[in-house]
């Protein structure tokens, strides 16, 4: 069972009383307000809520917000996050390899994260189908999936996809140049169009003719690409340099679809107007750059500039550690450029929800939305703020006090087992030497045995 649970936590009716509520709605921040959580939804926001039988949490001096949504994450993936072996691997799905036992799920709940968008890496132009999950720690991988979510797909541009830094043994996969990247996309979408056409004409045949005709080979890769053209699957694209961002938008315009999100997008400030015109969103870092040539021209005002132009802006982690502190990343939008506190907070909550097409369900505190909420000890943009409770679907998956008890219980359990193991060894059982197993953190460009940054 997940971190220290004897049995799974259950849905309760809870009233959080007398707290500051960051609604992310037109109401702005409401002070001395109560919020009722019932049946997994936000049932009521107001003053003096008295619900019989409800558990009451005193929120005095505290802040209640919508849960953080990480638009770019690589946690909870079993095995490699990249399938680098072909330039287009639209057929591979993160959904197939969710690892519901990754302890990062729990750690991020403790940082106020309630949903994560699990992406492939960036080692090929089309990485594969992504998966949005809710951090329902303890449930199975299938149960983590965000229900009724339209599918997304990871694209990538830049150094990684042309294998600039992949060593001398990786010099033959097409494309090896940025020009080739563009042609890879044109080729992929053209194949997808032909495929669709072939299916349509086969389906148009009469039953008798169909028996005589050669059926179209079902192609999982082309299925996914066709969904993009048909507006049923959305792109989030790893991107840094303005010329390539323009290139991809041009490819999309040629096939009459939109690039939904540019992720990283560190040169977004240069093309913010074009992105706005195209309808693309931005999911960026607050101030993480200069780790390779193509990110030298990044600036910390990127988010602010994109936001001012009217692009939907999110800040993401791409890193299991940073994801525990995304509240502080949001705060950097206030520090650099003076985005208002309430707008900055949306960078990690409502805006990623919009980019992921789930803002009708999560991302703000509004009656009827999912009860994915976090109670902070302080203003969530403060570095002093700690998470006291994290609810997903009205189920408390993390609370600070229970966590202390769990840590104690785990220490006791370890002590018991160490004692038992020592006894077994003394009785003559073969004992293997312990070896340190480093936890493998995954980043965008990790290939198995070949990690490098972003």
């Amino acid at each position: 069972m997940a971190y220290g649970w004897e049995k799974l936590p259950t849905q309760k009716t809870v009233v959080i009383k007398n707290t500051t509520v960051w609604t992310n709605e037109s109401d702005g921040n409401l002070i001395n307000t109560d919020v009722l959580i019932k049946n997994g939804k936000i049932a009521l926001v107001g003053k003096n809520i008295n619900e019989p039988g409800a558990e009451v949490i005193d929120g005095t001096g505290k802040h209640l917000t919508a849960g953080i949504i990480d638009e770019h994450s690589h946690i909870a993936v079993s095995g490699a996050v990249n399938e680098c072996t072909q330039s287009v691997t639209a057929e591979v799905r993160i959904a197939d390899v969710i690892d519901c036992e990754d302890v990062n799920i729990y750690r991020q709940l403790a940082g106020g994260v309630t949903s994560s968008h699990l992406l492939h890496g960036s080692c090929n132009p089309v990485g594969g189908q992504t998966q949005l999950i809710k951090l329902r720690y303890g449930l199975s991988s299938e149960e983590l999936k965000f229900a009724n979510w339209p599918g997304f797909i990871k694209f990538a541009l830049g150094e990684n996809v042309k294998q600039s830094n992949a060593g001398d043994n990786n010099t033959s996969r097409y494309p090896q140049t940025r020009m080739g990247v563009e042609q890879t996309y044109y080729n992929a979408f053209t194949r997808a169009l032909d495929y669709q056409k072939a299916i349509k004409s086969f389906n148009a045949l009469s039953t008798a003719d169909r028996l005589k005709a050669k059926p179209v080979r079902k192609d999982l890769e082309l299925d996914a690409l066709a969904e993009i053209i048909n507006g049923k699957r959305f792109i989030t694209c790893h991107s840094y340099v303005q010329s390539e961002i323009n290139m991809l938008m041009h490819v999309a315009d040629s096939f009459h679809f939109q690039v939904n999100t540019f992720t990283h997008i560190l040169e977004g400030y240069k093309v913010a107007d074009k992105m706005k015109a195209h309808g693309a969103g931005a999911s960026s870092f607050s101030d993480w750059w200069a780790y390779k040539y193509e990110v030298y021209e990044a600036i910390p005002y990127n988010g602010k500039i994109l936001h001012d132009v009217g692009v939907t802006v999110a800040y993401n982690s791409d890193d299991a550690e940073m994801a525990r502190r995304l509240n502080q990343e949001a705060a950097k939008a206030v520090k650099y450029g003076g985005v208002s506190e309430q707008e900055a907070w949306k960078f990690v909550t409502l805006n990623p929800a919009k980019l992921l097409h789930v803002d009708d369900k999560v991302g703000s505190i509004k009656v009827g939305k999912d009860a994915d909420v976090v109670l902070w000890s302080d203003n969530p943009l403060s570095i002093y703020a700690k998470v006291e409770y994290t609810f997903v679907d009205g189920i408390c998956y993390y609370d600070k006090e229970t966590d202390k008890l769990k840590q104690k219980a785990i220490a006791d359990e370890r002590a018991r087992l160490i004692q038992k193991m020592t006894e077994a060894k003394n009785k003559g059982a073969n004992a293997q030497p312990p070896s340190f197993k480093a936890y493998e953190e995954k980043h965008c460009t990790d290939i198995e045995h070949m990690p490098f940054q972003n």
Partner: protein
């Protein structure tokens, strides 16, 4: 076991070295001397299958098959009669997941460095080197007498063998573990098709991740369906074989409980109920495991304890590894409790001697004996559709059984013989008496020493206690001859004492065994006697 007469013994010894079963299609250079002898095993406790036992019955075998089984059945004239009073006959076990007799069938190695986009396999095969449905294990099978012996010593008589390499691994076969020619050991040439998420020896780049392996396998199912429907422009040996193999059950090997669900989900998409070769971690989410509806083949390779005497080192052992060490032996009982069908495999064990030892640990952790026996015999037989050939002791089935001293689940049980494909394989001498116990050594009717015989039944240790001296001696029993020796320190008998004797058959079946021995010292020969006390206690 008690041989009725010397002639029987001679015949038996002769026959075990001759071919019992002839190969009809093979010419013989010389005089044809194929014999079909009846063997009758009488007065045995016969465990017919996991749910029925004959208390005192007879098994008759002939030509590698069971001729008859029952309580009062006629013994055909000329039978070699083997009296198994006090002993048990069990169907020998079936290990449904091995690579016994399969040479390494690695795919062609990559030449030089660099990326490889297509298969290196020459010929009209699949585009991907890890998709090898055309591999037919039986075509590569070569008996391996050394490995067969290790299996037989663990009580196993039948194994399923597969080529454990690649994502789609082709078909597996069922073989018997006798040293007959391969033609006579293959029981079924094709019984199942095998899968995994690992690309194995494939040098091709794709797939390089588990999600890629899943996508590749799903695409292969779709391709095979399309291939079947289409007016063919291409001929593909792999897809031909893939479609052909669909009539066999599919076995999917995984490495943890989450991968069980991943495999099962692929099965759901293509209307296939995979049999799962599990990992031993199934107990961790037994409810989800049950929902798959799969039958499981589970290993019993429990982890060794960790050396946690250094607190710094102990930090490096995760709680989950510690918990698994504690709970791994409960896996089988939790599967039983949840009503999930399962069988055992030796796969993953370094030493096959640990097979029964670890199954007994599962019994200590709540598994019932009936379920354990079912998992060793009936379930794998049904799973591989060979239940009419082996897995129980019934008329017409292959003569595959073991002779044991006690219940196979008793810690002190000894497997004496493994009869496989009608051939006798002696593991422990069935005539060797259990000499463990306390004796008194009399020399000329005077007590000379106390004797303690302890340790393993088939390799005991002997100690001679003279007043305050305690001396370790030597003991051996071969061809009915008992040899004892020790260094005496008593003034009267000082020096090396050697004793040679035999067991008095008249008292053998009683609690008290009398041994006669000659004591040789200073060239004088005395007749002595030592008596056996409290045989069953205080070893």
């Amino acid at each position: 076991m008690f041989i009725k007469n010397k002639i029987c013994l001679l015949v038996l010894l002769c026959l075990t070295t001759c071919k019992i079963i002839g190969q009809e299609t093979f010419p013989i250079n010389g005089i044809n001397d194929t014999r079909s002898t009846f063997y009758a095993f009488i007065h045995a406790r016969i465990v017919v299958d996991y749910q029925s036992v004959i208390g005192d019955g007879t098994v008759v075998i002939k030509n590698g098959a069971i001729h008859d089984v029952g309580m009062n059945i006629p013994i055909p004239a000329g039978s070699v009669i083997i009296d198994l009073k006090g002993k048990s006959i069990y169907p020998s076990f079936i290990d449904p997941y091995t690579d016994y007799g399969i040479p390494e069938l690695k795919t062609k190695a990559k030449e030089g460095q660099g990326q490889q986009f297509l298969s290196n396999t020459k010929g009209a095969y699949d585009w991907n080197q890890a998709i090898r449905p055309e591999i037919d294990a039986s075509k590569y099978f070569v008996s391996d007498s050394k490995k067969a012996e290790l299996f037989r010593n663990a009580g196993i008589g039948t194994v399923m063998s597969l080529n454990k390499d690649g994502i789609c691994r082709g078909t597996s076969m069922v073989v018997l573990l006798s040293d007959e020619k391969e033609n006579l050991n293959i029981l079924e040439g094709k019984v199942a098709q095998c899968f995994s998420f690992e690309k194995g020896s494939s040098t091709q780049d794709y797939p390089d991740s588990r999600m890629g392996a899943i996508a590749l396998l799903r695409q292969t199912y779709y391709d095979a369906t399309w291939y079947k429907q289409s007016t063919k422009r291409e001929y593909n040996l792999s897809l031909e074989a893939f479609n052909e193999n669909q009539k066999y059950p599919s076995i999917f090997e995984v490495s943890d409980w989450q991968n069980v669900l991943r495999a099962d989900k692929i099965g759901d998409e293509f209307n296939i109920q995979y049999i799962i070769k599990g990992s031993g971690y199934e107990y961790q989410r037994i409810e989800e495991i049950k929902k798959t509806g799969a039958t499981f083949i589970i290993p019993v390779n429990y982890p060794e304890t960790y050396d946690v005497s250094d607190p710094w080192d102990a930090i490096n052992v995760s709680l989950s590894d510690m918990k698994h060490w504690e709970l791994a032996p409960t896996n089988a009982s939790q599967l039983e409790k949840a009503g999930i069908a399962f069988c055992f495999t030796t796969d993953g064990l370094k030493d096959k001697k640990d097979f029964m030892r670890n199954i007994r640990k599962a019994l200590d952790n709540g598994l019932s004996e009936q379920s354990a026996l079912k998992a060793l015999t009936y379930t794998p037989a049904v799973m591989l559709n060979i239940q009419n050939k082996t897995g129980s002791i019934k008329k017409g089935m292959v003569a595959n059984f073991i002779i044991t001293s006690k219940s196979i689940f008793d810690k002190e049980n000894v497997i004496f013989e493994n009869w496989c494909n009608g051939k006798r394989y002696i593991i422990k001498n069935i005539n060797a008496p259990d000499l463990r116990g306390y004796y008194t050594l009399f020399l000329n009717n005077k007590k000379a020493a106390g004797i303690r015989v302890t340790g393993e039944m088939d390799g005991p240790q002997i100690f001679f206690d003279e007043d305050t001296n305690k001396t370790k001696g030597n003991i051996s029993f071969a061809q009915e001859q008992l040899l004892l020796s020790y260094e005496s320190k008593n003034a009267a008998t000082k020096g090396l004492i050697k004793l040679n004797g035999y067991i008095d058959q008249a008292t053998k079946n009683m609690e008290r065994i009398r041994l006669f021995a000659k004591w040789a010292m200073d060239k004088l020969v005395y007749c002595i006697r030592f008596d056996f006390y409290s045989h069953s206690k205080n070893r």
